[in-house]
């Protein structure tokens, strides 16, 4: 629709325009998530105003990050699912199943006699297996994701209760508690895991063929299929990834609470979906942002922290949470509209 025809391209112009990493971050990361960053800054200001040093203290910041870590890791997996226009309601239940499976008495005895590493491995394996089952049903069985994962949500939670006999299992494997529950250079290990998973998730979504196909399937599944992409297999893998992240979240929560319980991760799926969606990932698929998801998770845990510091009830928190979801999505929408015009 341009009035003037662009000048004929010179060979030399076909050079990739240089974009330094810093400029890229400013460009894509900050600009696209401006609303979220603003919200986080405002929240922090609110925290300092209401709770002063109790909020700005470095120990408190670590508390916020520790709170954010489990939801964060699970949200990274969910970002992929939502990017392909799917939904995973079962992550909380899968987390519980993975946690009780990894903390059975016999399992702990085995880990004690061999290596603590078998506990997180078990949790990840169980999580991934449950995710794979979701994926197979959705991709090959053509059951819609909402129903499949709703079924998994009930079944996994029930199985977790059967295995644990509804009892909370204390973790006695010291190696595990020290390794995952400890700190490196003053930073809790679970926070480090969150950072690692977030970075890996960003690279996977934005810098690999896997990520590209994820966007393609979310944006136009028919076009992806006709272009020869293995849509079904990829879909199954994405749900497996979400399950794996729930498994990782499971052993992180095990370390944080030093227990395994069938009640772990109750209601987690809604927190996860909220974080992903306010992070700018479209429920209709095709667009997803790991950076946005991380910001979304941080906003919610900062909010919880501020309310706790001010001795406000959980009920008030819930109201504020609902308001924030709506406001954030409204802002995102406005920004998206403005952006699509530039």
């Amino acid at each position: 629709m341009s009035i003037s025809t662009p000048p004929k391209l010179e060979r030399a112009q076909a050079v990739v325009p240089r974009r330094s990493a810093m400029k890229w971050l400013l460009d894509a990361g900050l600009r696209r998530n401006l609303g979220l960053i603003l919200a986080l800054v405002l929240l922090c200001a609110l925290g300092v105003l209401t709770a002063g040093d109790r909020f700005a203290d470095s120990n408190n910041l670590m508390t916020i990050l520790r709170l954010a870590a489990v939801t964060g890791v699970v949200s990274i997996g969910a970002t992929f699912v939502i990017t392909i226009a799917g939904i995973d309601l079962s992550v909380g239940a899968i987390l519980a199943l993975a946690a009780v499976w990894a903390t059975t008495l016999s399992g702990q005895a085995f880990a004690e006699s061999t290596s603590w590493i078998f506990m997180p491995l078990t949790a990840m394996l169980i999580g991934a297996a449950a995710g794979l089952l979701n994926g197979i049903l959705i991709a090959y069985g053509k059951v819609v994701s909402f129903i499949t994962t709703l079924a998994m949500m009930a079944a996994a939670r029930g199985l977790a209760e059967i295995i644990s006999d509804k009892k909370t299992q204390l973790i006695t494997v010291d190696g595990f508690l020290q390794a995952v529950g400890g700190e490196v250079f003053g930073i809790p290990v679970i926070v480090v895991i969150f950072v690692v998973v977030a970075v890996a998730g960003w690279v996977l979504l934005n810098r690999t063929t896997f990520g590209r196909r994820t966007f393609a399937i979310g944006g136009n599944p028919e076009a992806a299929r006709l272009a020869g992409i293995k849509v079904q297999r990829h879909t199954a893998l994405v749900y497996t990834l979400a399950g794996l992240c729930a498994g990782i979240g499971a052993f992180m929560l095990m370390a944080r609470t030093t227990t395994g319980s069938a009640t772990h991760g109750t209601g987690l799926e809604l927190d996860v979906i909220a974080a992903v969606v306010i992070g700018g990932t479209l429920l209709s698929g095709g667009r997803g942002s790991i950076f946005g998801t991380v910001l979304g998770v941080l906003i919610f845990s900062a909010l919880t922290n501020i309310f706790t510091l001010n001795n406000l009830s959980l009920s008030v928190q819930l109201v504020a949470k609902g308001a924030i979801i709506v406001i954030a999505v409204l802002i995102q929408r406005q920004l998206a509209i403005r952006q699509s015009r530039t």
């Binding site: 629709m1 136009n220 076009a223 299929r225 020869g228 992409i229």
Partner: protein, 507 residues
């Protein structure tokens, strides 16, 4: 040929219309008049601003400057609803129907017939039936789901919807694109009835012969400005119109058909392919460098043949082989791995990632090649995309632009470029020039010819017989899911093909 300018006060006057999108001036000082009861044709290449102009008129876009006088009053439509209430009905090119609703529900969407607050299904149905009968399509039942209708049927519903309100002006954006000749004749009858009752029609089409049949006056847009206004159809030769549209003269838009070596072995071999239970088996082959045309009407089974060859639908029996190797049936993955590529009929819904960049669209099937151990190489992707953009003369030449923002012709080039950069042995083109303007058409023909010259086997499915005859070596005529005739393109005429298609006779 009714009411021309001068004899009537104008129904619509658009003066100095200006519409800017960021970075683009879509309309610049456009003046456009429509008289009551006339058919005013709007011509122009893709991207000339036709769609923007009618969207301004329909209240979808608001102009940055300019004045619109409709039915003697200054109007300022802030939404499509305003325009509809003023008496302007629009049939969009991209059908805007809700597929899961019935025909009647679609027709009365937004102005449901109610009685005491409850929707009145009965009166909607009888009115819908009346409208459809008036349009010459009494066979479309008001309680059918729109999704079950063919594209042509949906077009009729869209028109019935426009007519279901009091309209003084109807905008038709390429209404004939999905219609066969009989349906076009029906459409024209309807248009004539409308104009006889004083309703004005703005008619957009790429087909000059249609404009000759139905139009009174023509306005030609080029690059967002009116290149010529109010030309009388009866006094303006085609050559002049093409000159206004392109700024150049086109003698022949088809490149010469390249000669084929008869000894070249076939690349694609289709043997006894049964597409659906009860259908006759189909066999044909395409040699390297050969362009095979599938001619026939919409719904005759051409696209279904293409789909079964490509594996997007699973065939009942039979085999498809590329370079002698059989391909697993019903797998697009196997087809692409074997060297096939498909440019599907519905670019937007079947081929493009509209919200993604040109780069992502180009590299969709071949992303693995731009990656090392699964990690993509953005710089290489960019260079390869830039290469395709240059080769295809794609505009605007910005690989990071979203595919959505490009015109139809350029979007088609993206899909072609995708398979060019992937490297294909067999290319399947389903309606490659649908919704593509004259200028870009000849570029696409040239491209297809060059691709064949480089040794690719090509199948072209097209509703435009001229295209099949002008571009292809060999033609298969398809009617009612069967191949009814096969002959070299040089031995066939449009007339013959039409006869074959209509009769469905076996020769």
């Amino acid at each position: 040929m009714t009411g021309l300018a001068g004899s009537h006060p104008a129904l619509l006057q658009m003066r100095g219309i200006e519409k800017r999108f960021p970075g683009i001036i879509a309309l610049h000082q456009v003046t456009f008049d429509v008289a009551p009861g006339e058919v005013h044709c709007l011509l122009g290449q893709n991207g000339a601003g036709k769609s923007t102009l009618i969207k301004v008129l329909a209240g979808v876009h608001q102009p940055n400057a300019g004045r619109i006088v409709f039915d003697g009053q200054d109007v300022d439509f802030s939404s499509p609803d305003d325009a509809i209430k003023a008496g302007i009905g629009t049939m969009y090119q991209e059908l805007d129907l809700v597929e899961s609703l019935t025909v009647a529900e679609n027709i009365f969407l937004g102005h449901e017939q109610t009685r005491g607050g409850f929707s009145s299904r009965k009166s909607e149905q009888s009115k819908a039936r009346e409208l459809l009968a008036r349009l010459g399509h009494p066979e479309i039942s008001p309680d059918m789901e729109v999704g079950e209708l063919s594209a042509a049927g949906q077009q009729i519903v869209s028109m019935a919807r426009a007519l279901s309100r009091e309209v003084k002006l109807i905008i038709m954006d390429e209404p004939s694109a999905v219609l066969d000749s009989e349906e076009v004749a029906n459409l024209f009858d309807t248009v004539r009835t409308l104009t006889a009752n004083g309703v004005a029609v703005i008619y957009i089409s790429h087909r000059l012969e249609e404009i000759r049949m139905i139009g009174d006056r023509i306005t030609v847009l080029k690059d967002g400005t009116a290149a010529a206004s109010n030309l009388l159809v009866s006094e303006t030769p085609n050559a002049e119109l093409i000159r206004y549209m392109t700024g150049r003269t086109i003698s022949s838009i088809f490149p010469p058909v390249r000669s084929l070596d008869e000894r070249t072995p076939p690349v694609l071999e289709v043997k006894d392919l049964v597409i659906a239970p009860g259908h006759q088996p189909i066999s044909f082959s395409v040699r390297a460098g050969e362009i095979l045309g599938l001619a026939g009407l919409v719904g005759s089974g051409r696209s279904e043949i293409l789909g079964a060859v490509y594996g997007s639908t699973k065939a009942v029996s039979g085999s498809v082989a590329v370079d002698g190797k059989k391909i697993r049936s019903g797998s697009t993955v196997a087809a692409v791995n074997a060297g096939m590529g498909l440019c599907p009929e519905e670019r937007k819904s079947q081929a493009l990632l509209l919200d993604d960049t040109l780069i992502a669209n180009f590299t969709l099937p071949s992303i693995g090649r731009f990656a090392t151990a699964g990690f993509t190489d953005g710089a290489r992707e960019y260079r390869a995309s830039m290469e395709q953009i240059e080769k295809l003369e794609l505009r605007p030449a910005d690989p990071r632009r979203e595919a959505r923002t490009l015109s139809g012709g350029n979007q088609q080039k993206i899909v072609l470029g995708r398979w060019l950069s992937h490297g294909c042995r067999v290319l399947l083109l389903d309606e490659p020039t649908r919704g593509v303007d004259v200028g870009a058409r000849s570029e696409i023909y040239q491209l297809v010819s060059e691709l064949a010259g480089s040794g690719i086997a090509i199948i072209v499915v097209s509703s435009e017989l001229e295209e099949v005859l002008g571009l292809c070596h060999q033609v298969l005529v398809v009617s009612e899911q069967r191949i009814v005739h096969r002959a070299p393109a040089g031995e066939l005429s449009e007339h013959q093909i039409l006869d074959l298609v209509m009769e469905g006779s076996t020769l």
